[in-house]
Structure formats: structure tokens, C-alpha cells
């Protein structure tokens, strides 16, 4: 397989998202319809979806979605999972045969709880225990890749056009309060199923249109904190940065946006004193987490979603609202196709986060 730098596959990138503030569960066919409009931004080498609120019957359990290359890999990974988790339910993820989706890996789903005794002796918080287990599997068990590890949410992704993958994964049979989608394979890199978007850790998922030039700086820094960037593509590191800043350092999503898409120094210099001091502090403390280069991202998290452009706004992004629904997409047409009538439509400026949360809960934003 040719790797990054050895091959270039030109094309655009597309992202799309739907969120119901009231928590109404939206069927997955909606997001498929939206992302399909931007077919020509993709290249058929990757696509995927994240749905939140899709497993209400198992909402307190971690849902692991896992790719396996061989039956042997299943055995090795399950051995690890059974040692660390109480596996309440396991099954293959239901798929329907699709003429355009080929060479799929084994795709399994596990609803799990950390073993009490194991968790206690680890002296870690539950989330950290789970995150470390996921990172361990992905870094050390050959042929096994946990690509989704949150609660009451799931990532579905692979090689192909997103609309075909959506049908393959039967997303019309799932419903959730939030969906995100991505079309095309990670920038400049040949495809494998695990390398498609969304990237996920715990409840965080990221879809990304762009190509970040700070990848190496970001990777070097974040790997000091136990994360492993195995996938050789830029979006993976954004996911870990979000986890690091929001879950571990308790930054709000507004603050997180000010770190990864920090304003320019000359703009900071013109700000009122208090704001200037805070942003100066962020830029100094988290200088290695500044993300440069073009990006527009949708970050899914428990109870909410954040849309963010790089500070120069080198990628397109529009946001639309209709009653309790909020829509996000690289192109307006991808919103209009599922909601022709909008109460409001706007393009967030560079570095300006749009954060939407469920009406009746704060999510894990705070």
C-alpha cells in the first residue's frame, strides 16, 4: 500500500450535520440524502457517519464498533475485551450487501461496561479507563481497530461514497438527535476502512473538510499524553485534541475553539484587557495545539455539536435553522435538499464556533 507522500488523490471534501435541539430522533436517511448532494466533492475512497442518541436501549453502556481483518484478530481482540469489560451484548453490525461496497472487513459491535474490579485497581476514571483500553487495542492488536467507543452513539464508516456506505450500514433503521457525515478519503492518503471519517474517541467524533498543516506539531504534543496517532492522517489528531482539552482539561467548547483556531496576535492586541489576557494565556499554554491550514470541522459530543472553521476560513461552511433543527454543511444545497425552507441561514466567520446543545440538558460541554 502506498502511503502519505507517495500518492496524491485530488478531490474536495464534504461534511454535513443535522441536530435536533429538542432531542427528537431523526432517521439516518436524512443525513444520507444531505451528504449525497455533495457526491462530486468525494472520490469514492471514503465516507462515514456519526449518530448520537441511536442506542437508547443501551444508553449507559459503551458501544464499541470494531473492524477486524481476520478471524484470528477477532479472537485476539475479544480476549482483551473480555478481560477488561463485561460484554453485555455482541453481534455483527447489520449490513446490507451493496454493489458498490466491496472488501469490507469483519465489522462487530460490543456493548460493554468496564469490570468494577479492573476499574478500581486501575485507579482511573471510567472514561479514562475506556479511552486507554481503546488506544491499547488500536495500537497493539494487529488487525483490530475500535473505530467507535462512545455511549448511545456510533460511527459507521468505510471505503466508498458516503451515500453507498449509509445504505450498506442500514442507517435508515437508526434514529438519533444528531448526525454528522463526511465524504472522501482523508487527504492525500490511500484508503483503508479505519482511516475514513468520522474519527472518534469516547463520545467525541470529528468530521473534517480540509488539510491541516500543523499535523506533525500537534501529533508530537498530543502523543506526550498517551494518545497514539496510528492512522497517518490529520483528522485523527483533532479528535484527540478535542478529548484532551474538553474531557481532561475541562475547557468549554468556546475555549477549545479559541485554542485550536486562536485569533492572530495582532487581533488579540486590540482586544479588551481581560479577553486579551485569557487569549494570550491560551496561546502560550497550548501553542502546540494551534491548528493551522484549512479546516472546517463538525465535532459531535454528548448532547451537542460544534461547527468550526479555521481562522482564515479556507473552507466553506453554512449553517441553517428551521424550528428546532440546526443544519450544517459544506454547501447550502446539502441543507436545502432536506429542508428547503429555513428560518435562518448564515456562514460562520473564520474561528467563530457555532455550538448547539440539547434544550433540556447541558451536554458535557461544561
Amino acid at each position: 500500500m502506498k502511503l502519505e507522500g507517495e500518492v496524491r488523490i485530488p478531490s474536495g471534501c464534504a461534511i454535513s450535520g443535522i441536530f435536533s435541539r429538542s432531542g427528537e430522533r431523526i432517521k439516518g436517511d436524512q443525513i444520507i440524502k444531505s451528504i449525497a448532494v455533495m457526491h462530486d466533492r468525494s472520490n469514492g475512497l471514503g465516507g462515514g457517519f456519526a449518530g448520537y442518541g441511536i442506542y437508547p436501549e443501551y444508553k449507559d453502556l459503551y458501544a464499541f464498533h470494531v473492524f477486524y481483518e481476520t478471524l484470528e484478530d477477532i479472537k485476539n481482540c475479544e480476549e482483551f475485551l473480555n478481560k477488561h469489560f463485561d460484554v453485555i451484548n455482541l453481534s455483527k453490525i447489520p449490513v446490507r450487501k451493496h454493489p458498490k461496497i466491496k472488501k469490507e472487513p469483519y465489522i462487530w459491535r460490543y456493548f460493554v461496561n468496564p469490570y468494577e474490579t479492573k476499574l478500581e485497581s486501575s485507579e482511573l476514571g471510567e472514561d479514562e479507563y475506556v479511552a486507554q483500553c481503546v488506544i491499547k487495542v488500536n495500537a497493539t492488536i494487529k488487525g483490530a481497530y475500535i473505530f467507535s467507543s462512545g455511549k448511545n452513539m456510533g460511527v459507521f464508516k468505510g471505503l466508498g461514497y458516503p451515500e453507498d456506505l449509509g445504505e450498506f450500514y442500514k442507517l435508515d433503521e437508526y434514529a438519533g438527535y444528531c448526525w454528522t457525515a463526511h465524504g472522501r478519503y482523508p487527504t492525500n492518503t490511500p484508503g483503508w476502512w479505519g482511516g475514513s471519517h468520522p474519527f472518534n474517541l469516547l463520545n467525541y467524533s470529528v468530521v473534517h473538510n480540509g488539510e491541516i498543516s500543523s499535523y506533525d506539531a500537534n501529533k508530537r504534543y498530543i502523543e506526550m499524553f498517551g494518545y497514539k496517532c496510528n492512522l497517518l492522517t490529520d483528522t485523527e489528531v483533532i479528535t484527540y485534541i478535542v478529548d484532551f482539552l474538553n474531557r481532561k482539561h475541562k475547557l468549554t467548547f468556546e475555549e477549545l475553539a479559541q485554542v485550536i483556531a486562536a485569533p492572530f496576535w495582532k487581533n488579540i492586541d486590540r482586544m479588551p484587557k481581560e479577553q486579551r489576557e485569557l487569549l494570550t494565556y491560551f496561546r502560550n499554554k497550548y501553542s502546540s495545539l494551534l491548528i493551522t491550514g484549512p479546516f472546517s470541522i463538525l465535532v459531535g459530543f454528548e448532547g451537542g455539536i460544534m461547527a468550526l472553521n479555521d481562522r482564515l476560513k479556507l473552507r466553506s461552511m453554512v449553517v441553517g435553522e428551521r424550528r428546532d433543527r440546526v443544519y450544517f454543511a459544506s454547501e447550502e444545497s446539502a441543507i436545502r435538499v432536506i429542508e428547503p425552507k429555513l428560518d435562518k441561514l448564515w456562514s460562520p466567520t473564520g474561528g467563530e464556533p457555532v455550538i448547539i446543545t440539547l434544550d433540556d440538558e447541558e451536554g458535557d460541554e461544561k
Binding site: 487581533n267 454547501e331 444545497s333 435538499v337
Partner: protein, 237 residues
Amino acid sequence: MKIKVNLMHFQELNKLIKQTPDLFIKLENCIGQRYIASGLSEKEVVIEGTPGNALAAYLSGSTIKVYGNVQEATGDTMDEGLIYVHGSAGDATGYSMRGGKIFVRDNAGYRAGIHMKAYEDKVPKLVIGGKAGSFLGEYQAGGIIVVLGLGEDETPVGDFCATGMHGGKIYIRTNNPPEHLGEQILINKVDNIDEIDDLIAEFCNVFDIPIERINQKPFYLLTPNSAHPYKKMYTHH
């Protein structure tokens, strides 16, 4: 010719537009089809819905009327013709345009008029009714950009306005002219706007806006501060 576009692929749609002998074409319910009317001459295309990126790229004399918003790179490298947008425009509107006119009733995204250029009688014009995003007129080499700021009390242009501008003109109608412009840009309040009178009249006529509204605020003119602002940068010693 009338086409109900819906989810038709852009290649098919553009083939229909190019092949028809009809001089008037109406497109209903456009959903993101790219390159509509690219390179097209001598026709009139009326579009309802949301046309896709690079609408009217390389336009060669046709008139395009959009009832809705347009996406990115509308009028990319257009040579001649007219585009009326009854709504807002996305990023890079008028990208590298070298002739013709674009009128946007509401707002334009980032980098409107980036790399506009002019040559002899080819002087492209871009008129934005509301506000423009950052990097308006970035690397502008020629042509005229007008931002009317209708309904905007604050500066109707974003940061980094006219960065790298080395030719052409930007007129901004506002009580709050942009601050922190680059050193190579001159900004002056102007009383004489004869040069853009016709553009304003056309804008008001097309979008049915009383011309008196335009007179309520002053205009500022941005120009590069010498004939060769980047001469030093490009000169080898």
C-alpha cells in the same frame, strides 16, 4: 427552455444548457449543480433554488439571474456578462474575474473579488449590497468592487480587507470605514462617485431598492498607494 433540475447531475444539466438553441433558459429547483452556464455566451439563464459552486465560471456574455443564494466561486474568471443574485453569495465570489458585472443583493462571503484584474476596456465590477467577509479584494489587480453596506451599522467588510491589493478600486459605503488596513492601501472619503453611479442605479433598479437609501452614508475609496506597491518585493538586486 424550462428545466426542472432537482437532483440531475451537473454534466447532464450543462449539456442541456449548452445544446439548446433557446436563448432563454429557466432552471427550477436547482440543488447544488456545479459550473452552470460556464463559458456561456448570448443567453439568459434564470435560476431558482441553490446553484452549485463555480456558477457562470468563464462566463462569456450571458446574463444569469438567481432567485436564491449562490455558493462558492460564482463568476470565477468570468470574461463578460451579467450575474444578478437575489440573495447572498458564498466565498470567493468574482474570483479572478476579468470582465462583466456581478450584483449581489445581500452579503458576500470571504475573499470576494480575490485576484480581480483588468485590461484596457475589460474592467470587471462586483457590487455587494450588504456586507462582505474578510479578505475582500485580496490581491486585487484591477476592476471595481463596491460594498453598499445596506442594513449594516458596523463596518461592512471583514478583516484583512484589500490585503495584497495592487490595482483596481474598492468603494465602501459606511460611517465606519475599516481600520488596520495594510500599509500599501490608501483610504479616502470621496464625494465624487460618478464612476459608480451607473452601477448603483443598476443595483437599485434590479433589486427594487430606492436610490435615496444609498445617499444616506458616505463612500470611502480604497486604492493601492503607488503604481507599483510590490515593486521592491519582486525586484532582484
